[in-house]
């Protein structure tokens, strides 16, 4: 069996008196997509904050390639691609300038950055937008730029925090296909936070986060079985006590 590239053990985190994570554990395997499900406020973004080092670990452990985060912070960040829920592109720069900035922060030479930028822009069908200011792009294009940027340095781990929010169904599907293809081709471990059930595929490992705790981990079929429902949406609603609104 393949070893996990990233392991999270029993992690806890509180904002003042409010507990955001209470003993969450999960692991990411190379070449696999792991879906992190949870309603708003479940603790998904807090977990991302811990994995990216924006938040300091209060309890528990995070291991990257069998080394603790404290020992391996720089190597983890070097091998990490992230798409945050909120856009983090510099609106005043062009698409290419944004990617070059990211490449420089990862220590890529100008020539290497140029080659990889061209590759990623081609892959995400953004070549024509390379010289456009990000401000002039629509939401779908901006998300593609963020994904291209997250993959530019060929990371071993890709963190996606609700990357398709606000996009139309067609764009969402295309983005998902690209990410999944890249995950397999480059052996990237993907952690994909979402509350959109149609983004889940049967073979995905699922972690259901609710009120800071992992309520369930397993495959989609097991989740339905665990909740005693026919669909993933119903299972999600049942386990997170979400009231379905019938119109």
């Amino acid at each position: 069996m393949t070893d996990a590239v990233l392991k999270v053990f029993d992690v806890e985190f509180s904002y003042a008196k409010r507990k955001a994570l209470c003993g969450a554990s999960l692991e990411l395997l190379p070449g696999k997509v792991t879906m992190l499900l949870g309603p708003n406020g479940a603790g998904k973004s807090t977990l991302f904050g811990l994995l990216t080092g924006l938040l300091d670990l209060q309890r528990g452990e995070i291991h990257f390639e069998a080394r603790s985060l404290q020992e391996s912070r720089a190597s983890l960040l070097l091998q990490l691609g992230v798409v945050f829920q909120q856009s983090t592109l510099d609106l005043d720069l062009t698409v290419e300038q944004n990617l070059r900035y990211h490449a420089a922060l990862r220590g890529m030479s100008s020539a290497e950055a140029g080659n990889r930028i061209r590759e990623e822009l081609e892959r995400f069908a953004l070549i024509e937008q390379a010289k456009d200011s990000v401000r002039s792009l629509n939401g779908g294009h901006r998300r593609r730029v963020e994904l291209a940027r997250a993959l530019l340095h060929r990371p071993k781990v890709l963190l996606l925090d609700e990357p398709t929010v606000g996009l139309d169904a067609h764009t969402r599907q295309r983005l998902a296909e690209t990410v999944r293809q890249r995950c397999v081709d480059s052996d990237v471990a993907v952690l994909w936070a979402t509350h959109l059930m149609d983004e889940i595929e049967d073979e995905d490992q699922i972690y259901l986060l609710h009120k800071g705790s992992i309520e369930f981990s397993g495959k989609a079929a097991e989740l339905k079985q665990h909740a005693g429902t026919d669909t993933l949406v119903s299972a999600f609603n049942k386990l997170t006590q979400f009231e379905e609104v019938r119109v």
């Binding site: 973004s45 904050g49 990216t52 080092g53 924006l54 938040l55 300091d56 912070r73 720089a74 190597s75 983890l76 960040l77 070097l78 990490l80 992230v82 945050f84 909120q86 856009s87 983090t88 592109l89 510099d90 609106l91 005043d92 720069l93 300038q97 070059r100 900035y101 990211h102 490449a103 420089a104 922060l105 990862r106 220590g107 890529m108 030479s109």
Partner: protein, 261 residues
């Protein structure tokens, strides 16, 4: 820390700041118009009212324009430092700060690199001002243009560090107006930028002492001497101490978690 990545990251940060600077031409113009107004309008009015005795580093009587030129150079750096603070808050609110913070380098290095980049860009504006100031007979020795460079850089770093500290204390962009009223104006007016300290002492002993403890006073004096190819060791010492304090306060009070939301 990996030196290759650090060098590349610094270059990336510098290029980004430069690109943002050239794309915001109005910022460059306003940075120049402000001190030029002081030099061409305010100084013209005050020239008659305010006599300047021979003081170091000047070797003879000088016009008021010559006196305030170093203070106005520092004014450009002061506004740029605060502009940097505003940019930090903006980057944090807009999310682009995260890109910097999740790069594989120590945070103090990233913050110092960002401050250094904005400081270097400020220098371009100061030299543009000094060239225009030649038109009103502000003509320091040629060597002065060279010797003032490290002094200007040091002062720019100090003011950027103060800007960094302020950015950690400002919760929202809307609160930035307070910085104008409570930081920029008091720092500038309670210094030797517009009048020699002995003049201030004649008017108010209390204000004189406040000016003396204002790091901006020593920054202005450092630049004033450097522009005339002399070194004011006391001003250098004060500026270095102020830089160390502001930098430590800025780095220690910087909370990456505020960029995480």
């Amino acid at each position: 820390m990996n030196l290759r990545i650090a060098t590349s990251a610094f270059n990336g940060i510098l290029v980004r700041e430069f690109l943002r600077f050239v794309q915001q031409r109005s910022r460059f113009l306003s940075a120049l118009v402000r001190p030029l107004l002081w030099l061409l309008v305010f100084a013209a009015g005050f020239r008659a009212a305010l006599g300047i005795a021979i003081i170091e580093p000047y070797e003879t009587y000088i016009t008021y324009e010559v006196y305030i030129a170093p203070g106005l150079c520092c004014m450009i750096l002061l506004f740029n430092g605060m502009q940097g603070s505003l940019a930090m808050v903006y980057d944090r609110e807009m999310g682009s700060m995260k890109v910097l913070l999740v790069s594989p380098l120590p945070r103090p290095f990233l913050l110092v690199a960002k401050m250094t980049a904005t400081s270097l860009i400020s220098l371009v504006q100061v030299y543009a001002f000094l060239i225009i100031a030649l038109a009103v007979d502000v003509t320091p020795p040629l060597l002065g243009y060279l010797t003032v460079l490290p002094a200007l850089f040091l002062v720019a770093l100090l003011l950027s560090a103060i800007g960094l500290f302020l950015s950690t204390q400002i919760k929202q962009l809307e609160n930035f107006a307070g910085v104008m009223n409570f930081v920029i104006f008091p720092m500038f007016f309670l210094s030797s930028a517009l009048y020699p300290l002995w003049k201030m002492q004649e008017s108010s002993e209390l204000l004189y002492w406040i000016c003396l403890f204002n790091p901006f006073t020593h920054a202005v004096e450092l630049v004033r001497h450097a522009l005339y190819a002399s070194l004011n060791l006391e001003a250098l010492g004060w500026t270095l101490v102020a830089l160390a304090v502001a930098l430590s306060a800025g780095i220690l009070s910087f909370k990456p978690s505020r960029a995480a939301g």
